[in-house]
């Protein structure tokens, strides 16, 4: 009767509340009433047992055994099970009419066994009743929590839901603890703990999954995708990750429906922002306008970095390692259908900014970036972009400014960086450009012609670069780098860029040979080879002449004057270089045997 009255009063008090709220109140009242009832039962139960002893129905020992049994199997918070008065007495006389104690104490079918059986039945019956009420309350709490979650757009909106779920958790008491304190396994994804007792059913697991998204430090809610796309973009990752793990909260129909609705609005918003950018590209836009539009799209970008996890403070829930669960595949699965195009548009923004600033170096770098991402744009837009970046020149002037390395930086370094940064497909020999970068790096570190693997390949790569209008800047950089390396190996390098590098190199080579600085001459040839400055025949001729001079000098040092003279004479008969001829004439005369030397007329 008390229970009924409580329910009525509860229903009356919440006439204006939502159905979920009303159901929760009703289940709460029912549980409270049962708790009171079961708590009273202990006293009644003990009194009944004492009365049985007085009447001689059973002994004091049997009474103690019954109390102990009830104590062991009683559900927490449930008190002692007891039906209407007189039932315990009836237990002494089972259906077969056999008197209690007639079959002896040690017979399994003895009255004592029958008594225990009765206790067990009573406990089971009341346990089911309690379990049903508890589950009813838990699901009512979860329904109410979901109702609040559906309306929540901020973390504060979920405070009431957290309280409701917390109260349900309290009712489960020991069984909740047993379920959540399931021993941890070493794997990232653990088995969900099974209910610790028969009467808790599946409700505990459901409740755990509601608690760990709502009643935690960083509760999961879906911000309005139109008003807060950035917040929603972060939340949707978590949601999708949980969904892929079959998290029970994400399987609630209303919540899942809400996510799908929000997701549709979010993706539509992202598509709108993208269309606005595409439209701006097609119709022509300024960098500032494009940047503004890009900021809108950036709101929809999938956030980078580690995902936010779930509560690690709440008792029990921390054992379900959601941080581990959220790593890897669930997130990777998002990338294909998520708006992740900001990066591609950013490359175009950089190009627009470089174009407006007239910075040729930045423009070349930006163009390269855009070309790499071109395939990511819709076909028509990609065509438009390609046309833009191909035809455009810096606004600042028709003549691109000279390419300078960074202030105080090295032209060789800039060249190495530029060559190494040539994207695949920019010319037919991307690996050639990488090899060139390595060779220039060697030159910077003092490498000689012997360190060049294949000078001929260098020239071929430069030819390919020359045929690509987008790589034209490299030639000015190459000449500067060559002058820089030339300066490091001595000799005077003309300040004026008007003197062509090939002329400077030839002059330097002649000067080095004339001064018998053969190492320097070889390094000059290495620069020439790395830059593809001299023609192949010229390069080969100079190289073999240098080798012949070295060889002849070696013969002289080893005392093989005849061999040395033969080598020098060979040089004299073939060289067109005045410097080589001068060196050879001098050396030839020096190696002449004095006795054989003819007297001058």
């Amino acid at each position: 009767m008390a229970v009924g009255l409580s329910l009525l009063s509860a229903l009356a008090s919440c006439a204006a509340a939502t159905p979920a709220e009303q159901a929760l109140l009703m289940h709460g009242e029912l549980l409270d009433s049962l708790r009171v009832l079961f708590a009273d039962n202990r006293a009644v139960y003990e009194a009944e047992l004492a009365r049985g002893v007085q009447e001689g129905a059973w002994t004091e020992l049997e009474k103690e055994a019954a109390l102990q049994k009830a104590q062991q199997v009683s559900a927490p918070g449930m008190g002692f099970p007891l039906g209407p008065r007189g039932e315990i007495s009836a237990a002494r006389r089972p259906a077969g009419g056999l008197a209690f104690g007639e079959l002896g104490r040690w017979d399994p079918w003895s009255p004592m066994g029958l008594f225990e059986q009765w206790v067990e039945q009573r406990l089971t019956a009341t346990g089911r009743f309690w379990s049903g009420a508890l589950q009813g309350y838990a699901y009512a709490a979860m329904d109410r929590a979901e109702e609040l979650w559906l309306a929540a757009r901020t973390a504060e909106d979920l405070e009431e839901a957290a309280l409701v779920l917390g109260k349900a958790k309290g009712f489960f008491g020991r069984s909740f603890d047993l379920a959540t304190k399931y021993p941890a396994s070493s794997g990232a994804i653990r088995s969900r703990p099974s209910p610790s007792s028969s009467f808790t059913g599946d409700a505990v697991n459901d409740l755990i999954d509601h608690l760990n998204v709502i009643a935690c430090k960083e509760p999961l809610f879906l911000p309005d995708p139109d008003r807060d796309p950035k917040g929603y973009a972060a939340a949707r990752i978590t949601w999708t990750a949980l969904e892929s793990l079959r998290h029970r909260f994400t399987q609630r129909p209303a919540a899942a429906r809400r996510f799908r609705e929000d997701e549709t609005r979010f993706l539509a918003g992202a598509a709108r922002a993208e269309r606005a950018l595409d439209g701006a590209i097609l119709s022509g836009t300024s960098a500032a306008e494009f940047e503004k539009l890009l900021q809108s799209l950036a709101q929809y970008e999938v956030p980078r970095g580690p995902l936010k996890g779930f509560p690690n403070t709440m008792e029990g829930v921390d054992r379900l390692d959601y941080h581990s669960l959220l790593r890897g595949s669930p997130r990777a699965g998002l990338s294909s259908n998520s708006p992740q195009k900001v990066e591609y548009y950013q490359t175009l923004l950089r190009w627009l900014q470089a174009q407006e600033s007239g910075d040729e170096v930045a423009l070349v770098a930006a163009r390269r970036g855009v070309q790499e991402k071109l395939s990511r744009f819709p076909f028509g837009v990609a065509q438009q972009i390609e046309e833009m970046i191909t035809r455009a020149r810096p606004v600042a002037g028709a003549t691109p400014p000279p390419i300078e390395p960074a202030a105080g930086g090295s032209a060789v370094e800039a060249l190495v960086g530029s060559l190494a940064g040539i994207p695949r497909g920019a010319n037919r020999n991307t690996s050639g450009a990488a090899a060139l970068a390595a060779i220039w790096n060697q030159l910077r570190q003092g490498g000689s012609i012997h360190s060049l693997d294949d000078p001929e390949q260098c020239a071929q790569t430069w030819f390919q670069l020359a045929a690509d209008p987008n790589q034209r800047h490299l030639f000015a950089l190459r000449d500067r780098a060559a002058r820089e390396v030339l300066a490091t190996i001595g000799g005077s390098v003309p300040d004026s860029l008007e003197v062509p590098l090939v002329t400077t190199l030839r002059d330097q080579l002649e000067a080095a040979i004339a001064a018998k600085e053969l190492d320097r001459a070889e390094r000059i040839l290495a620069i020439s080879a790395a830059g593809g400055f001299l023609a192949r025949e010229e390069q080969e001729r100079d190289r073999s002449e240098l080798q012949l001079i070295r060889k002849a000098a070696q013969f002289t040092a080893e005392g093989e004057a005849q061999s040395a003279r033969k080598a020098y004479k060979n040089l004299l008969a073939t060289t067109v270089s005045p410097a080589v001829a001068a060196v050879a004439v001098r050396a030839f005369k020096d190696t002449e045997p004095r006795a054989a030397r003819p007297v001058a007329p």
């Binding site: 028709a398 020239a459 209008p469 090939v502 004439v585």
Partner: protein
Amino acid sequence: MSNTVSAFRSLVAVITAADSGDVSTTQNRIQEARSSVQKLDAKRSAEYEALLAKLERAVVENAAKAAQSRLDTLRARLAAIKEPVALEAVAREVAGWTREVRARSGSEQENWGQLAAQLSMLAAAWSAASPVLLQQDRQMDWEAARASYAGEVRSLRKRIERDVLGRTLRLPELNNAPLNEKPTEEALDALSNDLAGRSEWRRLYQLLEARAGLQGLAGRIGQDDALPALRSFFAAQNLELAEQWTDAVQAYKAVLQAVSERAPIKAAAERLKALTKEHPEAFTPATPNAVRRSSAPELER
């Protein structure tokens, strides 16, 4: 109803694309519109189909006109180019045309990609004053010889050659009067003759060698024998300095075998006369090696 709306939308898309002047997109839109129009009733479908066919013809004709106009403009621009920067700009622009051709399934016949590469190569050679790049361009020039803009490119190349040779070989007279008023080949011939007349053999050798490199295989086949004669002359001078009179005499004699008017025949003959007096012993037979060396130096390497 939905078919009508769809057809109407596709027609609007065609008109919008046609207004933009993008032939490729317009043709795509026309194809899409045809599919939509076919879903309408027969009478309307026929009307719209006729409209689309007319539009398509106009688009193709306009594209052909635009292509011709572009070619004319290109020729004029190539003829007017005075500096590498202007050439680079044209190369970049033409590189953009390459992609347009691809998008139109090759409706234009010109190989803009090849032209862009050639112009880019020429621009690089010009701005870097690189004879090596000009040599490389010579190979591309052969491939592009039959293009409708070949004449303009050839003329441009000649201008670049003159400038590059003038700068790298320190021949400022090439770009000064009276040579600057002559066509490149004529100016180079005149300068070569002038250098030979002034006995500036080193400069002459450099010029002839550079020209031979720029002219490629055809140039080498048709060139006179001044270059080998000059090489023999230099060898003879070297050997004379080393007091190898006999070998020097042989090398000078090799010069005399040349038929080119630019060969240093007179200078070689004078040295031989002098050596006859100074070193008569050098005119005794033997030492054929020196002759062979000087006339075919590559064999010695």
